[in-house]
């Protein structure tokens, strides 16, 4: 009898488990777009998602109003380790001014993955620095289009914060980041080199460094941290599409995976050109021998110790460079990425940084907006920009953000300004970086082979419904 009961118990568990696995999660939003598992969601769905998010916000706001006198706790979820302490100090000031609101900051290293778990488990933060197109499509964020702060933000950054599919703003950025070539001005001046605007000039510079300074690595790649190689594709190879189509049209082409415009596998495409150039650099010994196993930390150390002459990175590296070698401040040069072919122009990443979004499931959207308004006070934004060493996206903030201020302006003027790539969740920048590792490890015989493999992986990433 007991045996039978135990068997029955185990069988019940099996059946319940199986059914639960196949079944629909009751916690899911009833109006969630049915096919939004795919990153290439249709605009109709995303409209529905955003409309529902607006409804959600109003209803949760209404529900919340009677309780607004009670002390509320806001959950602030961030993936930016460098700003944790600074944000905590802002939180202290905010709580002193608003004793009814308590803000809890949570930092996670792998925030873009953890946020997914949070959305799935219902432990949703009120404010987050993690924003992805998939979640916008699924109506996870509150529509911020009507907030008053937009009149203070640079129009270009507002455009980058605008969802291509709905034309609404679900995120707001406080800063502008840039990426390009960081070079050692002392070495350049010693060897009589100038900032390169074409690939021929760029490779010529590296060759001169290699010949005249054999102990210095001309260009340092940090291949173990695959995202750094992924950035080469995102900025240099995708930069071809971005400069040819312009910021908005390029974003549309990426999000809609418009292969007719992207043409990644066409001979002479950005991917093809970049792959070919990198193979040439490797063959000529112009990159570090441990390009596949060196880390981002190695890259910074090599540059600040004078062991490497240049590397490609974003402005976010500047703070670390100055920490490693404060005396180097005057010797750090910054220039656009060189044009990959003669018919192209150099490019400089100029994009949104430090983004914030309020989740549509937040029970305290008004308090969350109040906290954002506090962060967006000019004096706080000034302190933030100077701490992060990045220019502010707010026009009423005049921050002395770092020694590269003038050079960054010059790089923005010299290169076509491009934005980040909207990549599919199924093919991230890390994945692109791993393909670059394969390229440098000799997996692809020609640059065209790489371009074809890349196109296949990219298309598969967008088509991911698995």
């Amino acid at each position: 009898m007991v045996h039978k009961k135990l068997s029955l118990l185990l069988c019940s568990m099996l059946i319940v488990g199986g059914l639960a696995g196949c079944g629909k999660n009751n916690n899911e939003r009833a109006d969630a777009p049915s096919d939004s598992g795919s990153a290439s969601t249709s605009s109709t769905n995303s409209n529905a998602a955003s409309d529902s998010s607006s409804n959600d916000s109003s209803s949760s706001s209404n529900e919340d109003s009677p309780a607004s006198q009670e002390k509320v706790t806001l959950k602030f979820f961030t993936g930016k380790v460098e700003t944790v302490d600074l944000i905590n100090s802002f939180i202290q000031q905010f709580e002193a001014e608003n004793p009814n609101i308590h803000v809890e900051q949570e930092y996670q290293k792998d925030a873009s993955s953890v946020i997914k778990v949070k959305f799935a488990s219902g432990d949703v933060p009120d404010i987050t620095t993690v924003v992805a197109q998939d979640y916008i499509d699924q109506g996870k964020y509150l529509d911020l289009s009507n907030e008053s702060f937009w009149s203070r933000i640079l129009p270009a950054i507002k455009d980058l914060c605008t969802d291509i599919k709905t034309g609404k703003q679900f995120k707001v950025a406080t800063n502008v980041t840039m990426a390009g070539i960081f070079y050692n001005k002392k070495i350049f001046s010693e060897l009589g080199l100038k900032e390169a605007s074409t690939w021929t000039e760029f490779q010529g510079n590296l060759q001169t460094i290699h010949d005249k300074k054999p102990d210095v690595v001309p260009m340092f790649l940090a291949g173990k941290d695959s995202w750094t190689l992924g950035h080469l594709i995102e900025f240099m190879a995708h930069g071809v599409v971005k400069q040819q189509l312009g910021v908005t049209e390029a974003r549309k082409a990426f999000i809609n995976n418009d292969s007719g415009k992207l043409k990644f596998d066409a001979p002479g495409s950005g991917i093809d050109l970049l792959a070919g150039h990198l193979l040439d650099l490797k063959k000529a010994g112009l990159i570090n021998k441990d390009a596949l196993t060196a880390t981002y930390d190695n890259q910074k150390e090599a540059f600040t110790s004078g062991k490497s002459a240049l590397f490609t990175q974003g402005m976010w590296v500047l703070g670390d460079l100055l920490k490693l070698n404060p005396d180097m401040a005057g010797d750090i040069g910054f220039s656009p990425f060189p044009a990959l072919a003669d018919n192209l122009k150099p490019v400089t990443l100029s994009a949104e940084d430090s983004v914030y979004a309020i989740t549509s499931e937040s029970k305290h959207p008004e308090e969350a907006k109040k906290f954002l308004d506090f962060l967006f006070k000019p004096e706080n934004l000034k302190a933030y920009s100077e701490f992060l060493k990045q220019p502010s996206a707010f026009t009423d903030v005049n921050a002395d953000w770092g020694p590269l201020k003038d050079q960054a302006s010059a790089a923005l003027a010299a290169g076509v300004n491009i934005a980040f790539t909207d990549s599919p969740a199924g093919f991230s920048g890390d994945d692109a970086g791993r393909m670059m590792q394969e390229l440098l490890a000799g997996k692809y015989k020609t640059s065209q082979d790489f371009a074809k493999a890349y196109t296949e992986a990219w298309n598969k990433g967008w088509g991911t419904t698995k």
Partner: protein, 293 residues
């Protein structure tokens, strides 16, 4: 009174209920729920749709998955035999009367108590070309040309991973063998010696047959451990260069975070089968051998 007697008679079964409940909650339920999710297009966020066995079919058409299966099997084929071979060798050597064997046992076992993630980083700092400790020593003695990027070449990276894994867990295998060796009665060896058996003969006819339970535990745990390897690869090569050393466990995680929850669950179930088959075959073979003994 009758109820009490009935309860007493079945007490052992009732005592198993907590264990069965825990087993059900932490194994049966996740497993069956996993089977359910694997039959959907779940992305972990929105409502999933039933798609039958499409995820399983996709797996067999996925080049990267095939590479990862190959890597995982090669890693296990390299690790499991070496772990058992060296574990047994250490156990046999350190079971003898010798000075300082306690210290040697501790040294051999020590790496096993360190997190594999940290172990991977330690070996990364040792092996890194141009900046690693080995590289530094080679530079000091003028042998820069010997400084090879072991982790940057697909084939050698996998070999390094196997060797580091063996180095870390050989102590654990050794301890289980040592326990087995110490449970063999000394009289058997004395009797064999009187009958004229030498060391080699005693090893083949007494030690190894009576070590069967220990061998069984070691082989099974090493197969499971090697086929589900994760941490050491993440810290040492991160699955690179490219996907050359990516294991199935890492692939599952990356697919999960790449919005492919249904697919990654299907791969996890396939991995479960990949692990269970060699374990099952080995247990079947050794059971027959045990009966013979």
């Amino acid at each position: 009174m009758q109820t009490f007697r009935k309860l007493s008679a079945n007490l052992h079964l009732y005592m198993a209920v907590p264990a069965i409940l825990l087993f059900g909650v932490f194994f049966i339920y996740p497993l069956t729920r996993g089977i359910g999710i694997s039959l959907t297009d779940s992305n972990g966020i929105t409502a999933p749709h039933f798609i039958g066995i499409r995820n399983f079919i996709d797996f067999f058409h996925d080049d990267r998955a095939r590479t990862d299966v190959r890597n995982t099997i090669l890693f296990a084929l390299g690790s499991a035999p070496l772990l058992n071979m060296f574990g047994l060798l250490y156990a046999l050597l350190l079971d003898r009367k010798m000075a300082g064997k306690g210290i040697v046992r501790t040294i051999v076992y020590l790496p096993a108590v360190i997190s594999p993630l940290i172990m991977g980083y330690i070996w990364y700092f040792i092996l890194q070309p141009e900046r690693g400790y080995i590289s530094h020593v080679l530079q000091q003695v003028g042998l820069e040309s010997w400084d090879v990027n072991w982790l940057g070449v697909s084939s050698s990276a996998l070999v390094v991973l196997i060797l580091v894994n063996v180095w870390q867990y050989v102590g654990m295998t050794m301890i289980i063998f040592l326990a087995g060796l110490q449970s063999i009665p000394a009289e058997l060896y004395e009797a064999a010696r009187i009958d004229g058996a030498g060391d080699r003969s005693s090893l083949w006819h007494i030690t190894l047959p009576l070590l069967y339970p220990a061998i069984k535990i070691n082989v099974v745990t090493n197969i499971i451990g090697s086929l589900s390897v994760f941490d050491i690869i993440v810290s040492l090569t991160d699955g690179g260069p490219g996907y050359a050393t990516e294991s199935l466990s890492i692939y599952i995680l990356r697919m999960l975070y790449g919005n492919s929850t249904g697919y990654s669950t299907a791969v996890a179930l396939i991995m479960f089968i990949i692990i269970i088959i060699p374990v099952f075959v080995f247990l079947k073979l050794t059971r027959k051998r045990e009966y013979e003994l």
